[in-house]
Amino acid sequence: MLTLKLEKQESYSRFELLMRAMFGWLYINLPHYFILGFLQIWGSILTFVALITLVFTGRYPQSMFDFQVNLMRWTFRVQARGFHLADGYPPFSFERSADTPQLEFDYPENLSRSSALLKLFFGWLYCGIPHGLILVFRHIASSFLTFIAFWAILFTGEYPTSFFEFNLGTIRWGMRVSAYLGFMTDEYPVFSGQENKNERLY
């Protein structure tokens, strides 16, 4: 079960907001995505290796699973800054910390081998295309809302709650699809960015 947790701040720093909006690409995106790019390549190799293991043993190797979760956690922290959902600089680390956006993913002891093969050959068709299409439009909407939220924060210091939830939902939705197509879960991603009712909070 994938859980993303990010508390909406009482107030947001206008200075950080302006800095992120003007120079965020330089001091957040560029260094983080440079490193994340290499980690993604390694993650792709591990996904392939995990797939082979999964098909033969029915298990996703736990170390590889932990790496993928850590990678998602890091990406989530950077994405949260991209949408202005959180202040502060995302750490260059896999480590959890209480003051940063949280992402947890329960390790599944066993996964379906047939489901893994189905995802390998037809995942793009029954999951990638439908979710991808919606996520494209959702990202456009999120970009628009982020732009409006920028002005709202600039003048009031607060992020509109509904915008916050929508943008967080966009990230959550994307993460669920990535996890499913990355063979980390058998649970088909819901067509929603809402938090699952049975997701446990950390």
Binding site: I41, W42, S44, I45, L46, T47, F48, V49, I52, T53, T57, R59, P61, Q62, S63, M64
Partner: protein, 162 residues
């Protein structure tokens, strides 16, 4: 006179599933270039080096399999890289694919088939918590993983050699 340090070879029931999976993963690095979608055999070697670096501290069992995978990957990747560049050179020049090329290609192909079979066997054995020794590389990997270069080592139990 220095005392011998006593080292116990881990037996299958003493090794956690996680360690077994980590050890098995080392041999699956031979699919790295396939996973990356690039026809460069050097990627397999780089992946094996990264995997070894990330896993060598975990346990001696994992270290043994990681380093054996890495050592065995070096000649195979080198041969594959030579063949890939030779092929590219032949395509790019007016040289034809002569007998020397095809005989070398066949040799490398046979080496790869053997390497793949051995790697799969090693991966299966690693998953079962066993040590599996490649020809030549197995001895080196064992010494590197289990022997302390600064201390004299005495084994409490025997490694399951084949």
């Amino acid at each position: 006179m220095r005392d011998y340090i006593k080292v116990e070879i881990p037996q299958p029931d003493q090794i956690s599933v996680r360690e077994k999976e980590d050890a098995m993963g080392a041999y699956l690095m031979m699919f790295a270039s396939l996973a990356a979608g690039l026809p460069f055999p050097g990627i397999n070697l780089i992946a094996a080096i990264i995997y070894y670096t990330l896993n060598k501290q975990k346990s001696k069992f994992v270290k043994f399999h990681s380093i054996q995978s890495l050592y065995s990957q070096i000649p195979v990747s080198t041969l594959n890289t030579i063949i890939v560049f030779w092929t590219i050179y032949n395509i790019g020049s007016e040289n034809s694919f002569n007998m020397y090329y095809w005989s070398s290609f066949l040799c490398v192909l046979i080496v790869n088939i053997f390497y793949m079979i051995y790697s799969i066997l090693a991966a299966i054995n690693a998953r079962k918590g066993r040590l599996y020794y490649f020809i030549i590389f197995g001895e080196y990997a064992f010494d590197k993983a289990f022997l302390d270069k600064d201390e004299k080592t005495e084994f409490i139990n025997q490694p399951p050699r084949i």
